[in-house]
């Protein structure tokens, strides 16, 4: 049985549909990322799960029971807010002990739990400091500890790492995932950062315009995106229009031998990841191209190419022969690296 089920959840603000017919089920102990651009409804969906907003229609079920009518403070879900929302007038200890105090736990038990939690988030020895004296990363950890202090049934985080600098953010992603694995707590994180989602999640839910576009394992969302939007949102991709041709498919100015678009289709949108575009000397491969720009990032090199089908991006490990702007090359694409979208051509 799944821990959390959303059935056809819709949220309207007047004419605006913030969440549109979202159906989702979260297995116990899993780590789910709601991923999408800003304004896609992911935060609203999280707030509906937390009980801070009520759905206009649809059902929210927790362990099989409907919880739509349960007020926020009776749900026992831990939540970390984007602004962290630590109480500025309380110390670290008082912040973490707040939910325990409300539930009438004794002083000794509260002290013990605060020490445990500060250990858990690797922040010992700050219990008596005021919140205002902590760094961004420390506040982050205190917010996580506070949300976990009553061992919540569900752990919700709204863009929890967005205030941190890039390096600390990457480190916290790994740490958060390890923490979640240790506790085995069902976790839902809202993020707009696809690297963050890929790092942490068991399952990624991609949203756009209030709708859930795809829910899958991270690698499947990356390798088998359900739509051009998903392909484009998760990392870089080359979106092309292909037509059936002799022995494969044709794109403008070239061919992809062996690619089947599906029976009876006259046109299809396809996606190819930059690492699947292979650069060969001019004339060796079926798609002629000119080097437009070379972006050497040390660990890998991205090559921007102009082709008759438009700009394409290829990525390869460094250590190949250097390419210069203006070089004539040719490209080959393996048919099994191509994702063919089932819908018609959107453009």
């Amino acid at each position: 049985m799944s821990t959390l089920d959303l059935v056809a959840v819709t949220k309207r603000y007047g004419d605006i549909v913030a969440v549109d017919d979202a159906t989702l089920s979260v297995p116990p102990g899993s780590f789910v990322c709601l991923l999408g651009p800003s304004g896609c409804g992911k935060t609203t969906l999280l707030r509906i799960i937390a009980g801070l907003e009520s759905a206009s229609s649809g059902e929210v079920k927790f362990e099989g029971e409907r919880i739509d009518a349960t007020p926020v403070h009776r749900r026992d879900f831990g939540m970390v807010f984007q602004s962290l929302a630590l109480f500025p007038h309380l110390s670290v200890r008082e912040n973490i002990a707040y939910p325990l105090k409300i539930r009438g736990r004794g002083k000794a038990e509260r002290e013990k739990r605060v020490a445990e939690l500060l250990d858990l988030v690797r922040l010992p020895g700050v219990a008596d400091r005021p919140i205002t004296q902590l760094s961004g990363g420390q506040r982050q950890r205190v917010a996580i500890a506070r949300a976990l202090s009553v061992s919540p049934k569900l752990f919700l985080l709204d863009e929890p790492l967005s205030a941190l600098d890039a390096k600390l953010r990457e480190a916290m992603q790994v740490e958060l995932r390890q923490l979640q694995e240790r506790l085995g707590i069902t976790t839902i994180v809202v993020t707009h950062d696809q690297r963050e989602a890929m790092t942490m999640a068991d399952a990624i839910v991609v949203m756009e315009g209030g709708r859930i576009l795809q829910m899958d394992r991270p690698i499947d969302v990356y390798r088998k995106p359900a739509s051009p939007f998903v392909a484009d949102f998760l990392g870089q991709t080359n979106c092309l229009v292909a037509k059936p041709g002799k022995g494969g498919a044709e794109i403008a100015g070239g061919t992809i031998p062996g690619l089947q678009l599906g029976a009876g289709r006259r046109e299809a949108e396809i996606s190819v990841r930059p690492e699947d575009v292979v650069i060969r000397p001019a004339g060796d491969a079926p798609i002629p191209a000119t080097v437009e720009f070379v972006r050497d990032m040390g660990s890998a090199v991205e090559i921007y190419l102009s082709t008759e089908a438009g700009r394409m991006i290829a990525q390869r490990a460094s250590g190949h022969d250097a390419l210069a702007v203006g070089d004539e090359v040719s490209l080959s694409i393996a048919p099994d690296a191509v994702v063919v979208f089932s819908e018609g051509v959107a453009r």
Binding site: H73, R75, F81, A85, F87, Y98, P99, I102, V150
Partner: protein, 284 residues
Amino acid sequence: MSAPARTNASGQAALAFPAVMLAAFFVVPFGLMIAVSFFSREQGGFYTPVLTTANYQRFLSWFFADILLFSVGLSALVSAVCLTIGAPFTYLLSRLPRRSQVPWLVAMMAVLSLSEVIIGFAWSTLLSRTAGLSNLFVAIGLMDGPEAWSPSFTAVLCGMVYQAFPYSILVLYPAFSRLDPSLSEAARTLGASPVRAFFNVIVPSLRNALVATFIIVFVFALGAYLLPQLLGRPQHWTLSVLITDQAVYQSNMPFAAAMAVFLVASSLILVLLSTMFGGRREAK
């Protein structure tokens, strides 16, 4: 070297204006008042500059102590009522969409444009036996016959709270609207009911604004002069009424000055005490 010197000179010049104004309109009159409070009264005339403490001795009687206590108590009660209604009101107001906040704020500020006289007469009509609210209650069957609710202590309190309420909103609103709305949401996800979240989280994080509001309304109410006379009985008259009586009708300037000095001193002490109380809790 010359540039900073010039900036300094112009900085002092800029300060000179408020300094002169403060001296001319506050320090000098206040000094005169203190001086007069130590002069002796001349029967049938004004006062003679002969130093005496008789004015203060006369003031230190149960009669005047009683009135001072009443004035301070009334002001504190008005502040307390304004805060009790104003804090939740402002909190809910600041949670509304911005567009719906504007009419409320405009209506609140409109009250400020009413003169004290108009407010006084409006309330005395509203609470009168012949045309007041009690007639409405009779009409809907809540009461047997109309009653006069003014003059009374409640009438004074109502009028003064009505007058001071917009000021309290004015001071509370900026602090409340800057408050991170996720603070109370966080408290609720941690298990606090909305009411508990308000008292555990909202009120303490706005402590400074609440203390400031209390002081401003308190000082404002301490100067009340017209409303206690329009809406209250003589026993509800504040020290300000007595000061005016002594200064204008009894022509006893020195005694009026002594009372005024005492009123200013006691309100200053109370303001200092409350800022110290508010400040200490903040530092902790």
